[in-house]
């Protein structure tokens, strides 16, 4: 046991970037769960006398044009932005995996039809596909999350199908079939657990992409209506004050970048683990 812990600490110490990435994600998660612990400022109403103040000890990220604390808005916006990103990932993970699983396990014409359909989804750039969905569904954080989730379904379907095809020929799958396990038993108990690893790595990676895409759509104004704080719209709100108040765009944008970088770093570590 002690040896195991020693190995683990060594593993962690050799990867300071990975530790930092985990800490960033944990901190942001804590912001989302209990924003009140991190700031006592109100994210929605400001003190007009304190408007457009540069970052200081009292206001870490400065204040905006109505005197609201920018840090408080970033902290309170974490809940909405993270929930949207997680929903988007869940949509693409569940729908994409199901489609990939069916295509890979059934094969034949169903496989061909599903995968051609996924190829079409890949032919339209994700952000344009999301924009089309937003046009059809309407505006709002949930709808943006659905739009981003659907736009990423094809990646999951492709990967899951490839994994299923790899696993399906395994001797243990053959043994389970010969032993009389029904098709759904083979699928859920033998194929799915062995195909899931790379798909979960992709899910972590997609979390980062989803944060980026959702914040881009929210920046364009398709997310939550103001004054609700959301990371992308916070950056957009600072656009009119670029020359006088750099902190209003730069600091919330840095938070988004840190979250995305962390998610990418962790997915890379998970992928490396699988190869070790």
């Amino acid at each position: 046991m002690a040896e195991l812990i020693a190995v683990r600490t060594g593993f962690v110490l050799r990867r300071p970037g990975l530790v930092l990435a985990t800490l960033v994600l944990l901190l942001v998660l804590a912001w989302a769960l209990a924003p009140g612990l991190f700031t006592h400022y109100d994210p929605l109403s400001g003190v007009p006398r304190q408007k457009l103040q540069a970052p200081s000890a009292a206001h870490l990220f400065g204040t905006d044009e109505t005197g609201r604390d920018v840090f408080a808005r970033v902290v309170h916006g974490a809940g909405l932005s993270l929930r949207a990103a997680v929903s988007a990932v869940l949509i693409s993970l569940v729908a994409g995996s199901a489609l990939g699983l069916i295509a890979g396990a059934r094969g034949g014409w169903l496989d061909a039809v599903l995968m051609r359909f996924m190829d079409v989804l890949l032919a339209v750039p994700p952000i344009l596909l999301s924009l089309a969905l937003v046009t059809g569904l309407g505006f709002g954080t949930t709808k943006v999350a659905i739009a981003v989730g659907v736009a990423n379904v094809a990646n999951f379907a492709r990967l899951m199908r490839a994994e299923v095809l790899r696993v399906r020929t395994g001797v243990y799958v053959e043994a389970a079939r010969a032993g009389g396990v029904r098709w759904y038993g083979v699928l859920t108990r033998h194929i799915l657990p062995n195909a899931a690893g790379p798909v979960l790595v992709l899910a972590v990676l997609t979390f980062g992409t989803a944060v980026l895409e959702i914040s881009a759509l929210s920046f364009l104004g398709y997310g939550a209506a103001p004054p609700t704080p959301e990371w992308g719209s916070l950056v957009a709100g600072g656009r009119s004050y670029l020359a006088s108040a750099w902190w209003m765009t730069t600091l919330p944008g840095l938070v988004i970048a840190a979250v995305v970088l962390s998610a990418n770093r962790i997915s890379r570590a998970l992928e490396g683990e699988r190869h070790d």
Partner: protein, 323 residues
Amino acid sequence: MRSYALRRVLQAVVVLWAAFTLSFVILYLLPGDAVLAKLGGGDTATALTPEQIAQARAEYGLDDPWFVQYGKRLAGALHADFGRSIATGDSATHMVLTALPPTLAVAGLGLVLALLFGGGAALAGTYTRAKWLGNLLLSLPPLGISLPVFWVGLVLVQIFSFQLRVLPALGNNGPQSLILPAITLALPTGAVIGQVLAKSLRTQLAEPYIETVRAKGAGRGRVHFGHALRNAAIPVLTMVGVVAGQLLAGSVVTETVFSRDGVGRVTTAAVNAQDIPVVQAVIVLAAFFFVVINLAVDLIYPLLDPRVRCDPAVRVRKELVHG
């Protein structure tokens, strides 16, 4: 070769048809209502009589059953006619095509910069003997992918337009106004190219033929640029096909950031007004670019690499998904 080319062209046509159908399903069958949006949105629309709304619907052919609408739209799309914009009444195709030149200018310059950034980082990062420098250069592409594009644009405006006052912040005036949007657009694209090239360079440098070239007395530069790069560049060519479509999509964000006119601005305005014909025209145009560029790449491919017989675009994207 003839049958290979013919098959590729047929596939391209099928993808275009499928993209049209996909956008039709998303735009026409989902609940959003452009007519209500045009007539003034929520409150005023309820003040209109149902007859007035029905009349407006009939005017745009939105009261036909879906299969009649689909047939009409598809027949129109075959002649590059996507109907009239609900918001402005102009031809959707005309609106998108007139907005295209400034977008293409930024996208073209962006692609060149992306190749310079990505190619430079990957080549220098794998060539240098200083390990720290190599690590630094090769960590740039993953960083570039993680930055929000709209934020990079705004930070560049802050630095170069407001602090240093060397480049214009907004608008379409003159070639200087191209620089910042093109850099912004090139960053994520260059990052993808850099990642692919670095990975493929490392694979090539480990191949036995490199050993042979070294044994024959070739210097490091010759091995790297003369032999490894030539083979490593093939997957990058495929990537160029994939990212070119992304450049058009990226213009949606960059044109908003820099208040430039172009396809991106037309798109955001159309989404705001739920202007279905214009959004559909943009999506089919993006698919068209994707298909044409990939077709060109696919047809050049066998000339460069005679081993190629399967679909290279799909193969590289699969590799990307697998990391």
